[in-house]
Subunit: 223 residues, 2 copies
Amino acid sequence: MFEILKLSPLFAGLDTLEINLLINKVFYQIRSFSNNEVLAFSGERVEKAMILLEGKLQGEMVDFSGSTLKIEEIEPPQMVAPAFLYGPQSFFPVNLSALSDGKILIIVKKDFTQLLANDLRVLNNYLNIVSGKAQFLSRKITFLSFKTIREKIAYYLLNHLKTGMMIVSLNQSQKGLAEVFGVARPSLARTISEMEEEQIFRWERNQVIILNLQSLRSILGKY
Amino acid sequence: MFEILKLSPLFAGLDTLEINLLINKVFYQIRSFSNNEVLAFSGERVEKAMILLEGKLQGEMVDFSGSTLKIEEIEPPQMVAPAFLYGPQSFFPVNLSALSDGKILIIVKKDFTQLLANDLRVLNNYLNIVSGKAQFLSRKITFLSFKTIREKIAYYLLNHLKTGMMIVSLNQSQKGLAEVFGVARPSLARTISEMEEEQIFRWERNQVIILNLQSLRSILGKY
DNA sequence: AGCAGAGTGTAACATTTGTTACACTTCGAT
DNA sequence: ATCGAAGTGTAACAAATGTTACACTCTGCT
């Protein structure tokens, strides 16, 4: 088990022995689960830290009409819902169910807090994980706040542009990009065509060549 | 100073003496700033924890064309950018500038980590703050992911509906709601009219009376 | 070389939302 | 009670995006 934990972001920088000592200072529990089992329901309070050791879990969002919607997959050795263990609304945002047999390490919240306090490195790691989540979400909101497809394209390109270069290499298909942007694929293609027409860039299969950086920037500048 | 800190979420549950002892265990610094001073630039690394003691600060988002866009205000005794002190990308997402004269308490990251480890309550508080931020952002994304105005209205109403009741009281003007939704005010009014037409609810000045909960739910159910 | 499947360009049309404008209501301050 | 500011209902029109459909290109495989 400690070999697996050593690979987890939470215990990064610690060796197996140190992890062993830390974990054994607090009360913990290992729970096996089998395929399709539901480990937690949306809305349930999160009272334990859970680290996936083996197997695969899935988070299903449940909407108001009762049907499940979006999905997120969790693989070992990741923590489950790290940003929902603390905070004013510490309840599961999703239904947590198993996609295979597996095992999780469970530490109740109070003991987990103790664990964090016992080792500055683990504390730092956990803060990094939660903060990283917040930063990821923050960036996502920035992105979602752009209304038009033009703005999204401009933002995406400028963010992937290495300084000094005029080429952005694409590791996504146009179809994939449309999904990230949350827009229909033909709509994206249309806007790309228009922007090519305006000599803003040349869009090739695996890369985009920026022709007019100025006007690309001005799309995001409202003033 | 400790009187002010006692009111901050970070030191909730501690008395003045305890805060005094904790703070004095680590290295800290108090910095005065004057109106319009820029305390940090967007992109700068966050290396210190900052707690606003007096005055008012503002975060200005800077876009690619150099102009400042959106704003966020910070008032004492709040922490500045709590979710950006740790994490893989710990740099300011905004320009931090002063809206008045004031003072901030500064603790370098390393000492701040030590401070957290020294008192379980403060650690818990900080985890609550950062997690709360993440949860807030998460909910905001859920909301932003609804495309149509109908969906946003349905989600908003269902979330503000107390169980068993059929009335949602509004503490926002229609104009204010439109801003929260990120849509134009007349567009919101139009959709509200349409939904009233369909007997889904009756929208009065300060409250909404749900007439058909079923169909309100079905707006969010894709299946 | 030929084939199948995924990805792409493009068009016509439908739907949704934004914009602008104006008349009407509400509500608090004088 | 009256005034004025803020909020609301509504309409006509513009702009952006979605939907559907189809032909074409690319790529990997046999």
